[in-house]
């Protein structure tokens, strides 16, 4: 079977071609000059200031752990919820499909920032006082609010994931389900051995994309009192003028933050790509991104 499609991703130009290699070298040299010669000369500072980086490292590490914590809180929940909602959406039973549809439309339709604000304002009042006292006695109310806001980000993402899984479910040809029926497989066996393996393979590539979005979206928690990378970096930069360091450090700090998000999301999407390869099946390529 011919699997070629009308549009194919073109491979990035090979670096052996002289011209592109020269471009690359030029850019790196220009960047290094800018960072280590020109900017320091103009603003009279050194990017290699051990004192500054020493201070920032403490903020950075706390922030990075915070980011990981919120991702750990939001991501598993979002995948589970997204899968269940996607499954419910394709259900023939209205009591499943209708609420799932409502859920997807509500959470997809609201900006994550608004969700986070609402969650931090009213989130804790949704949890009964008895449960707060019993299980979250050691936590400050503000921290619980941020945790709930992280979950709200997860729910926002789960709405998109639900759509990914729905498309995955709907891509399994009806005839194959019929063939499984004709073999004598029971309803749960058809789900387990025929539908789910294909849904999984078809959903994996777009899912990787959505995971990257979710990781970056945790930075929205900086808008409330979240303790994560963006918030900690901002906190440091807030005390920068008073501490006697030149303002131009703002540039260095945000570059580090940007690079950090890039490295995290790149690593995660690469990892998922490996998983995709591992489960590669001819005829089930899905939508590759």
């Amino acid at each position: 079977m011919d699997t070629a499609t009308a549009f194919q991703l073109r491979e990035p130009p090979k670096l052996v071609a002289g011209i592109t290699l020269i471009h690359l070298v030029e850019m790196v040299v220009a960047g290094l000059l800018m960072a280590f010669v020109i900017l320091p000369a103009i603003f009279d500072f050194s990017l290699l200031s051990a004192q500054f980086w020493g201070i920032y490292t403490r903020f950075y590490v706390t922030g990075l752990f915070g980011t990981f914590f919120y991702v750990a809180l939001a991501l598993p929940l979002s995948v589970v919820l997204g899968f269940l909602m996607g499954w419910a959406r394709v259900s023939r039973l209205r009591i499943f499909s209708w609420p799932a549809s409502l859920y997807v439309n509500v959470f997809r339709g609201l900006p994550p920032l608004i969700l986070v604000i609402f969650a931090s304002l009213f989130g804790t009042s949704l949890i009964p006082q008895a449960i707060l006292d019993r299980f979250f006695a050691g936590f400050r109310r503000g921290d619980i609010a941020v945790g709930i806001a992280a979950i709200a980000i997860g729910m926002h993402s789960s709405a998109y994931q639900a759509e990914i899984f729905r498309a995955g479910f709907q891509s399994v040809p009806k005839g194959q389900v019929e063939a499984a029926q004709a073999l004598g497989l029971r309803s749960w066996q058809r789900m387990r051995h025929v539908i789910l393996p294909q849904t999984f393979r078809l959903s994996l590539p777009p899912l990787g994309n959505e995971v990257a979005v979710l990781i970056k979206d945790t930075s929205i928690l900086a808008a409330i009192s979240g303790i994560e990378l963006v918030a900690k970096s901002r906190d440091l930069l807030g005390i920068l003028p008073a501490s006697g360091f030149p303002i131009v450090w703002i540039f260095a700090v945000w570059t580090v933050v940007a690079l950090t998000y890039f490295v995290i999301t790149y690593t995660v999407t690469r990892g998922l790509r490996l998983l995709e390869r591992r489960f590669h099946t001819p005829g089930l390529e899905g939508i590759s991104l």
Partner: protein, 241 residues
């Protein structure tokens, strides 16, 4: 082996089957022909209960299967089915397509199932393609795997729903050869097809269906050479050109 009495089926306002009665004896190969929309596929599907008849009875080996207390899964184990569009499981290799039912429905061990699947793939001439995925097989090869998959369950009878209609012309032969061999070996078969060659060579009887009814029934010669009914004559003259 298979007996169907006075089957009625509606899809909404559409009256698809209007009182079908016929019997297939053990070892017979029945071919059903008829214009599209005449209810042939629906009739096949009523036999393994992929479609539930509104009224009438379906008997397999003397047991009425369309009644309460009979599990659909049990009925479908008794009769194998081959579809027009093959419907192989895309995520499974040829051999895994064949073993799935053996392992999950028959509860056979993986080793035993693989052994049996190899024998069946060899029988349809695809021993070398055991580890190929459906997307890597031609239409004819896919359909032969589908036949092996159905045969693996040791069915009492086989249903074929236009098994060659979706095939490119060069692959039709290999599928029909497998089916003809099966008929010769005495498999009870009901085949919906317009392959006149197969009907003449392998069919014990031919049923002509039109508008939800069996209009005429007879041997290949009776139906193709000397049709009694006007509708049969009109249809046969169209497909024989």
């Amino acid at each position: 082996m298979i007996r169907v009495t006075d089957i009625q089926k509606h899809f909404g306002a559409l009256h698809v089957l209007r009182g079908i009665t016929f019997e297939v004896k053990k070892g017979e190969a029945i071919v059903i022909i008829g214009p599209s929309g005449s209810g042939k596929s629906t009739l096949l599907r009523c036999i393994n209960l992929l479609v539930e008849p509104d009224s009438g009875q379906v008997f397999i080996d003397g047991v009425q299967v369309n009644r309460h207390g009979i599990r659909h899964e049990w009925v479908r184990e008794q009769v194998g089915m081959v579809f027009q569009s093959f419907n192989l499981f895309t995520h499974l290799t040829a051999i895994d397509n064949v073993t799935l039912g053996l392992i999950r429905v028959k509860g056979m061990s993986r080793d035993k199932a693989v052994e049996k699947a190899r024998v069946l793939l060899a029988r349809v001439g695809l021993a070398a393609k055991a580890n190929a995925y459906p997307a890597e097989l031609s239409g004819g090869q896919q359909q032969r795997v589908a036949i092996a998959r159905a045969l693996a369950m040791d069915p009492k009878a086989m249903l074929f729903d236009e098994p060659t209609s979706a095939l490119d012309p060069e692959y039709i032969r290999e599928v029909l050869d497998v089916m003809t061999a099966l008929a010769r070996e005495g498999m009870t078969m009901i085949v919906v097809t317009h392959e006149m060659g197969f009907a003449s060579n392998a069919a014990s009887r031919i049923l002509f269906m039109d508008a939800g009814k069996i209009v005429e029934e007879g041997t290949a010669e009776e139906i193709f050479q000397h049709p009694k009914e006007e509708r049969t004559r009109a249809f046969v003259s169209k497909i024989l050109r």
